[in-house]
Subunit: 247 residues, 2 copies
Amino acid sequence: MTNFNSQNYLKHISLDCVIFGFHENQLKVLLLQMKYSKEWSLPGGFVKNEESFEEAAKRVLQERTGLNNIFLQQFCVFSDPQRSKFNPAVKDLQESGTDPNLEWFSQRFISAGFYALVDFEKVHPLPDFFSDHCEWKALEEIEDLMMDHRKILNKALETLRLQLSYQPIGFNLLPEKFTMPELQKLYETILDKGLDRRNFQRKILSWKILNKLDERKKGGAYKAPYLYEFHLENYNKALKEGFSGSW
Amino acid sequence: MTNFNSQNYLKHISLDCVIFGFHENQLKVLLLQMKYSKEWSLPGGFVKNEESFEEAAKRVLQERTGLNNIFLQQFCVFSDPQRSKFNPAVKDLQESGTDPNLEWFSQRFISAGFYALVDFEKVHPLPDFFSDHCEWKALEEIEDLMMDHRKILNKALETLRLQLSYQPIGFNLLPEKFTMPELQKLYETILDKGLDRRNFQRKILSWKILNKLDERKKGGAYKAPYLYEFHLENYNKALKEGFSGSW
DNA sequence: TCAAAAGTGTTTGGTTTACACCCATGA
DNA sequence: TCATGGGTGTAAACCAAACACTTTTGA
């Protein structure tokens, strides 16, 4: 295996990223397809000797999407002793002859799950050493994933939905300028339920984290909706404080 | 060091437990005092080769408190590459002469934080190899903790408060039978704010997770308050479903 | 000129908050 | 008998849900 020296990485420790994007009214996840087994997998990686988990996750994200400065969040650690059995990477290495890194990939790994929210349009998907495809998949079309990656994905989605109820994070999935109907579609998709247009707008605006622009979104049919952008200062404040719970 | 064989544990990986208890209207945390450095520390441990993080945390909890079946939850991973510098355990081992495990404790550790909610009265605190005291400390009296344990504690507290707003978890800090004023004091302490007695009761009862008993709490001065216990079935349902957010 | 989408406002009902009275108990 | 805390009810304020009309645009 090229360019990989297991000496540089912490043993037993890995991370997997659930990278969410929003496109054509669908919530999508960036997946890799393994070269030999053809199984689908979450983008993942390992932690260097002098790196934090967060730094490692940023690195993985940068490598697979080309993006920096992404909304990224640790959400759970997966440590079932059996989870690393049947790692297709091991088979792939066996197929390609004896590899000095076979032992490394045969380890038991404890993996931290990170989820990322990105602007779909900005991503340039790039496969890694073990994969020949890196693609967006709509949630509905995702079938089996390798190892426990389905479980990781489910937990990420659960966390995303929960977090959406006390932080205004969904916006990270949209471009800098977006319309209210786009934002609503996004929320409806993530939450998997319809929302009232007028009540939605009132609620979002009450957070005071958006600037309404004079511009309208051109090109679409029918009446052109206004564009909005972040009021960055208020947005960051809202992120920190969250929407106070019921106490 | 007695009874410790580093061969049995996963390298680089540790866990720290923030064990919360409630006593005399104070939120308390179980801490250990290191033998040599006298620094205070969270109870922690390592993950065995064939163990999950959760199993390891249960083991640590059992060893320090004598309790099984505790509310226990992973909340964050701490992976700063510098966090394991200045580990007092290393100094302690050096003090006590050359120890075969010195190398193990000198490693860089990535630590998963767990928090536990326990019935104060049921705990029998027991120090570990590196500590000579294991004690409950009220939050206010906790000063410096070793390494990044203060950060871990703060994050645990933050998570606890957040989780309290969408799950009825506080109850785990009380005995099987408890009164409404006791529960209210608990919530007030965790949230660090006063609550209206009547509104509090109405809200809690609306969750329908309590059985009001005919019994009253004897012994206290003034009017004896009713005792309550869990409606276990409804409680577990509420835990799973959470209090739906605002969507 | 009509259908589809977007902008905006009002009514209604439920939830939360604020507040008051009576009861039980031990000093 | 009185101070203290506990049990319970109600009115007001607020917020969320339901709903309707007007405007813009391309076909």
